[in-house]
């Protein structure tokens, strides 16, 4: 077993364990902390896939900013624990079985049909390469996302504002 495989198993275990814990916790705050664990594990996996910049972005934006927002709202609302984490009586539970089967079938079909080669080399997504791509080839979508973020901020401010009596 190579070093990369050991790392993959370690980080994949963190990711899957964290994701399962998100669903199994009854307290939403613990779910949020599990999700942070998952995101950190994912960032490690990104680095093993030679996407260093995205690994850092994942930690700063996802595990840092977005999850802080979640934790903030959970603490603000002071939500009580639920009786059961997963509701076994929801009929929607039975929808997950065909959905999972379809996904697994498609994946097995592609994986057995295609001869994927082992990735080699150490090019990777450096800041330079991603920055060059973002500011030349993808300049228009890049600017469009800034408008999107602005709209989201204004919308969130308007929604969360307390109405005047």
């Amino acid at each position: 077993m190579t070093f990369e495989q050991i790392l993959f198993i370690l980080f994949a275990g963190i990711v899957v364990g964290g994701a399962a814990s998100v669903l199994l916790q009854r307290n939403p705050l613990y779910s949020a902390f599990s999700l942070i664990t998952t995101f950190v594990g994912l960032a490690c996996l990104y680095v093993t896939l030679k996407a260093q910049f995205l690994g850092v972005v994942q930690i700063v934006v996802y595990a840092g900013a977005i999850m802080m927002l979640f934790v903030f709202v959970i603490m603000l609302l002071n939500i009580r624990d639920e009786d059961t984490a997963v509701d076994p009586n929801r009929f929607l539970v039975y929808l997950t079985i065909p959905l999972g089967a379809i996904l697994l079938g498609a994946l097995l079909y592609v994986v057995t049909k295609v001869n994927l080669a082992q990735p080699t080399g150490d090019e990777g997504g450096t800041v330079e390469r991603i920055g060059t791509n973002l500011l030349t080839k993808y300049l228009l979508p890049f600017e469009a996302t800034s408008v999107l973020i602005l709209m989201a901020v204004v919308g969130a401010l308007h929604l969360a504002k307390r109405e005047k009596e």
């Binding site: 990369e4 495989q5 993959f8 994949a12 990711v15 899957v16 994701a19 998100v22 669903l23 939403p28 779910s31 949020a32 999700l35 996996l45 990104y46 896939l49 996407a51 995205l54 994942q58 996802y62 900013a65 977005i66 927002l69 979640f70 709202v73 609302l77 939500i79 639920e82 997963v86 509701d87 929801r90 929607l92 997950t96 097995l108 592609v110 057995t112 049909k113 295609v114 001869n115 994927l116 080669a117 082992q118 990735p119 080399g121 090019e123 997504g125 390469r129 991603i130 791509n133 973002l134 979508p141 996302t145 973020i149 989201a152 901020v153 969130a156 401010l157 929604l159 969360a160 307390r162």
Partner: protein
């Protein structure tokens, strides 16, 4: 940049004629390329997210499950970006650029969704998806 031009290497992959039995090919795929393991991890993550969206009642946890699904898609993008990098594909970094856009949209979604949730809690004192029945016929 032509869209069809971008798809040519992908289509070339899918037109291969596999040999050997199903099980042999599966084992070969796993032992040959780490890409396969990453694809399966991503599928597991996505399925866990779907399960969370369908079974949890707390709206905040439902949002978190959506984030899990987005992350699974991101992992897939980066896996294939890595795969095409070493195949010398000039569009290989599109996957990583796409991931950045997904993260941006996820941030906007979280900000708006949580603001909506806050308003909802202020008006109805609940965040349970089962009790929000205003639009139910």
């Amino acid at each position: 940049m032509m869209i069809s031009e971008m798809w040519t290497p992908v289509l070339a992959l899918l037109q291969q004629e596999p040999s050997g039995s199903f099980g042999q090919r599966l084992v070969q795929s796993f032992s040959q390329a780490s890409t396969t393991s990453f694809l399966f991890l991503s599928a597991i993550l996505f399925t866990v997210g779907v399960y969370g969206v369908l079974t949890r009642r707390n709206m905040i946890v439902i949002f978190m499950s959506v984030e899990l699904m987005l992350s699974a898609a991101n992992l897939n993008f980066i896996t294939f970006s890595r795969y095409w990098q070493t195949q010398g594909n000039e569009y290989a970094y599109n996957g990583q650029i796409m991931t950045i856009f997904v993260i941006v949209v996820a941030a906007a979604e979280a900000a708006l969704g949580l603001a909506l949730l806050l308003t909802l809690y202020r008006n109805r004192e609940t965040v349970s998806a089962d009790e929000i029945t205003l639009l139910k016929w």
